[in-house]
Amino acid sequence: MKIDPIHQFNIEPLFTLGHIGNHTIAFTNSSLYMFIAVLLIALLMLASGRDLVPGRLQSVAEISYEFVATTIRSTAGAEGMKFFPLIFSIFMFLCVSNLVGVIPYTFTISSHLIVTAALALLVFFTVLIYGLYKNGLKFFKIFVPSGVPIYILPLVMFIEVLSFFLRPVSHSVRLFANMLAGHIALKVFAGFVAMLGFSLGALGWVGGVLPLALTIALYALELLVAFLQAYVFAILTCIYLNDAIHPGH
């Protein structure tokens, strides 16, 4: 029994869709899970009832709605509600796909940097374009904090500009690394259980209890991380959008 904790991240083309330049565009297992996530969200939001007294499914849909709406209002103000559909889409997409990804034998979309980077760049360019469109040159005030002595202002501005352009990096790597590391750790500890059992016989099965307990604990942690990282991604999006809406700090 060989532990291969990386195998779960393999991209396997299911069928080829076509070519762009010399890139082959395939419908992969990743694509499949993306559409599963979209389908699950659509089911949750559209198939739930519209009763006055909500049932279970409807409650989940409404709690998601209220949760995201409250997050936006508290971080980006009432004007941030313009981006409600975007932030709701991002949060639900990541939350649902992460939670689906914790199920054994499934694929986790956000364990690939290209996906998280694409979403982070989407947010980055939304902030940049909306900020410039709405505030014009005043948008650059976000690089000039008020109340800073003039002699250290250039240094502060340099740091602000740098951190602004590094945002998509930290934004995407945080989610990617969390999901990747969590799944590897889970796979390694789960692999120990099977390895001990297959190689040492009865003694191994007894010895496997410890890594099994760890796997269970890690699994609970991963469930939390799956939700939490989606939430962190969404709330950072709100905070970045707040800069575009109110650039004056």
Partner: protein, 188 residues
Amino acid sequence: MAESHGEAKGQAAGAHTEAEGGHHGGAFPPFDSSNYASQLVSLAIAFVALYLIVSRIALPRVGGTIDARQNKIEGDLAEAQKLKDESDAALKAYETELANARANAQAIGNETREKLNAASEAERKALEEKLAAKLADAEKQIATTRTNAMSNVRGIAADAAGAIVQQLSGVTPDANAVNSAVDASLKG
């Protein structure tokens, strides 16, 4: 993205096929640029579809349900407040009505009592007057009878006194003297 163009596609694709075999001698899958394009295309399609579903249908629908519930609750509360105000007003009206009725009843009772009192008083007075008149009549009759009886007694006494004097002295006394003597003795 940009860095993926620089790499040799064929090698990456080859490594990828190997990795599928189970032993990961090729690139670490998240950094294998050969599958970036596929992922980006499907992510774009899936995310745009999700965004459209969410912004066009899902959020208006769920938001509408929540707003409808909010409005319904506020409407119901307002309705309840209105009904409460109405019942309060009705209670107040009932209480004033009751107080009025009680005052009326008191007034009617007093009036009736006074009327009855006056009537019985008048009746009593009339009866007393009638009785007094009868009493006076009766007293007058008694007085008349007594006077008559007294004058009869005087005549009889005078006669008897005259007869007694005559018997004793043999002299017929003067009538006037006898009368005055009888009167004096009756008075005394």
